[in-house]
Symmetry: C2
Subunit: 502 residues, 2 copies
């Protein structure tokens, strides 16, 4: 990869936060820039000690840096474990060789396993620019990936990251394809399954296009950014965990791709299947329950679409050695009351703690999934799983187990509360007849979720609620006045987010 001669500068801390993008700063008139002709380039290979990354070059035309100094964006600085005064070396970058395959995909060709392996390896090694990542995601979206391509993509994603192995024969897992705000069953299912004696090392994603991913929600109650060693200890001790998959590089390319999908607000079928199943396989899972909520404003809108997705999940799963059971659930309205990381965590805790006002829909859905998992794993006979799950929840062992898991992950804490709230009330009486999940999710995102953990909304009136004028419908929660106002302005510009018929 290193083709040019390397040349040195000294590192200076500037503290510029470019988020995930690695950026390197150097003077346009510094010796490295001049001798190497770097100012014609946009991306470089950058080495500090024994670590190398690819970074975007920003040239400095001021005295921010001396002639022999360079700097890095905070993400690049951290990635390279850099210290002020360290020597930083540079080299020309060979263009990512696999981009020719991405171009072939853009032009409509079907790619083979080697092509996906090359692409995913380059992506995992940070060789793609944002524009290149976006092109790959777009070229694979819609129905442009054939079944064999999804299998190749899944295998490539597994290969590009770490893999966990366990000493037990059955490793359980569950996943929800999302699209239904508040559908935060995972912590409950993991607690029940682990309390029942199953091994369930659950790795979750952060939100892609939703106001909260399971990892975002879990993070308001316990640390989720654990090393592989730490995860292993938690699972050996408690039988289960709920951690962020990206932290353990189980499928590092996928985490990069998800970042781009989030920016584009797309979440395409082939990528999703590969993303989900590659993470399950890499985590060492053998038996997986997939929850597909179906509804007109959920991610999957029709039973036919759900059927096709189920087939793909089963075929790809079996190609990479997983037993996959798909369960279609109702997706016409949010589950629970909260939408946003901390607000959803409160619903989860209410169910686990058997609170009187726990959301019944969240509880029933978690029991259905936990019951199926107990059945396919052989811990309950067919048809007995759900009642077995219910007794574990009712007798408090699920809550005990969840608390123990949180403690093992680094310590349980109560989810926080947002400093700014605003209540939206009914303008006329009637009955709630339709709820638009997508626009509810958008309000929660405009309010700051998932970046602001306590931001989001509470939905007070599920479908069929009889309401009076002035009755609270939705409470918006935000961590800043600006975001609260922004969410409110969106609400005011819309009509019928909740349809109320008299």
């Amino acid at each position: 990869m290193d083709t040019g001669e390397t040349t040195n500068l000294r590192l200076k801390w500037l503290g510029i936060d470019t988020r995930k993008e690695f950026v390197v700063y150097m003077r346009s008139d510094c010796p490295v820039c001049i001798s190497e002709g770097f100012s014609a380039l946009t991306r470089l290979m950058v080495t500090v000690g024994d670590k190398t990354i690819i970074a975007t070059l920003n040239v400095i035309h001021s005295d921010l840096l001396a002639h022999d100094e360079a700097s890095l964006s905070t993400s690049a600085w951290n990635k390279l474990n850099a210290q002020e005064g360290d020597t930083i070396r540079f080299a020309h970058l060979q263009p990512a060789g696999s981009m020719s395959k991405v171009r072939a995909k853009i032009y409509g060709q079907t790619l083979g396993p080697e092509a996906y392996e090359h692409i995913i390896s380059d992506i995992a090694n940070h060789k793609y620019s944002t524009a290149e990542l976006s092109a790959f995601v777009t070229a694979c979206a819609g129905d442009r990936l054939k079944l064999n391509e999804i299998i190749s993509l899944s295998r490539a994603m597994i290969k590009a990251g770490s893999q966990l192995t366990w000493t037990r024969d059955i490793i359980a897992d569950k996943h929800c394809v999302g699209g239904l705000p508040g559908n935060r069953t995972t912590p409950i299912v993991v607690a029940i399954a682990a309390a029942a004696g199953l091994t369930i090392p659950k790795t979750s994603s952060r939100a892609i296009t939703s106001p909260a991913g399971t990892a975002d929600t879990m993070e308001t109650m316990a640390p989720v950014d654990l090393s592989i060693g730490h995860i292993r200890k938690v699972v050996e001790q408690e039988g289960g965990c709920v951690v962020w998959g990206g932290a353990v590089r189980l499928s590092p390319a996928d985490d990069i791709l998800i970042g781009v999908e989030r920016a584009l607000d797309i979440d395409s079928e082939g990528q999703m299947i590969a993303s989900v199943l590659s993470k399950k396989a890499a985590a060492g899972s053998t038996h997986v329950i997939i929850d597909i909520p179906v509804g007109p404003t959920a991610k999957v809108r029709t039973p036919e679409a759900a059927q096709q997705l189920s087939r793909y999940f089963s075929s790809v799963g079996s190609a990479i050695g997983l037993t996959v059971e798909v369960i279609q659930t109702e997706g016409t309205q949010p589950v629970g009351r909260g939408i946003g990381p901390a607000l959803e965590a409160r619903d989860v805790l209410a169910v686990l703690q058997n609170s009187q006002n726990a959301p019944e829909d969240l509880k029933q859905r978690a029991l259905l999934l936990a019951g199926s998992l107990l059945e396919i794993a052989g811990l309950a006979t067919h048809g007995e799983g759900e009642s077995r799950a219910e007794s574990i929840l009712k007798n408090g062992t699920a809550w005990e187990k969840f608390h123990a898991i949180c403690e093992a992950q680094g310590g349980f804490s109560e989810p926080g509360t947002a400093p700014f709230t605003h209540e939206i009330t009914a303008e006329h009486p009637g009955t709630v007849s339709v709820i638009d999940n997508r626009r509810l999710a958008k309000i929660a995102k405009l309010a700051g979720a998932p970046h602001d953990a306590t931001a989001g909304l509470t939905l007070h009136t599920p479908l069929d609620t009889r309401i009076e004028t002035g009755q609270p419908l939705i409470t918006i929660h935000a961590e800043a006045r600006g975001t609260l106002k922004y969410a409110l302005e969106y609400v005011q510009s819309q009509s019928n987010i909740l349809e109320i018929t008299s």
Copy 2:
């Protein structure tokens, strides 16, 4: 567009050059960031005086800025005509509304005229992030644009920019779809046509994926970044010009899209047709010659592909009111000797000045195109155009006209010379039987072209040249040792860029 309350900081110059990307810098703990919750966002609306742009937010975690200070990347600073100490205001950004249409296109839908108008208007107003631009370009690539969509895209591009009008009935123009290094006929055709009395206000692009665009080459001989008023003056005085289209916002969205296509190294059919014809129509052209070089390593590889492209050019042209004549030319090897802005300019000057060693292929090709243009514009009868063009070139009036155009554009200057060169010689005797245009172009780009104007290569041995061991084949030209070395390493890693058969 402005939905949040705006809040103020003071501008400080930091001199950070992020190229085209607009970036705004502020402290994470500054009052604006805290009260508005900006640190959750990645892009903001930024206003200085009466100018507003959309910029990416980079948060500063150091004393680079005081609490009441903000800064801008150099491109954003220039765009806003900012001065140190100016007040800078901020507002939340509404997501680009048209991205929902791009997502529909990603998922395979056909879009109508309003959708393209909305998308192109948002792009021209800098509302799209790099990832979003890349997704749009990718979603339109391959054969994903129907004829009607190309027409809608062309009309939208015309509408989003300035439009020139002229008092003459016939306004001539020419364009080459590219893919053939060194094919720099435009300055010669413009000189001949203008000398013959035609009006030919030629706007050209910079390179997309090639080592030089016509604007890059012309810029080594005269300024090309002219205002509309200046262009009008040049054309009124001399009958023709060769300027950069982007400078006059004739199709500003297209210039942004071309930047992304260059980064991805793709140049797709639909975008190309819309790009070319929208610029012609916006420039007020009525009669256009399109040159399509066809060859196994040219952009268009087969006569069939050229045929389809010709049909699209004619159909879209006629839908937007242009008379388009397409000419297929030979595309098996570079035209002229130089590849790279300044090196191609030397070839152009040799032809215009009737030098003894002027490249004959470039001259013949320019005469063919100029002759056709004279014919469709009614200045020569059918079959007489080429000889008319030749006499204008031979008697020196074409060179006189070209020099006058350069002077009117701001002053003629001789193209520069690269400080570093390296000669590649033949390892065995034989005859040059195949030339790989694409890899030659890549060598020139690795050497620094088009960013480094004097970089590129000279090809000494066209097809069928009989050569001896040690005879010079190619000279590489570079402005830095690093880029020269980089190009050389690529040459050494390849075989048969020139195939030599004994």
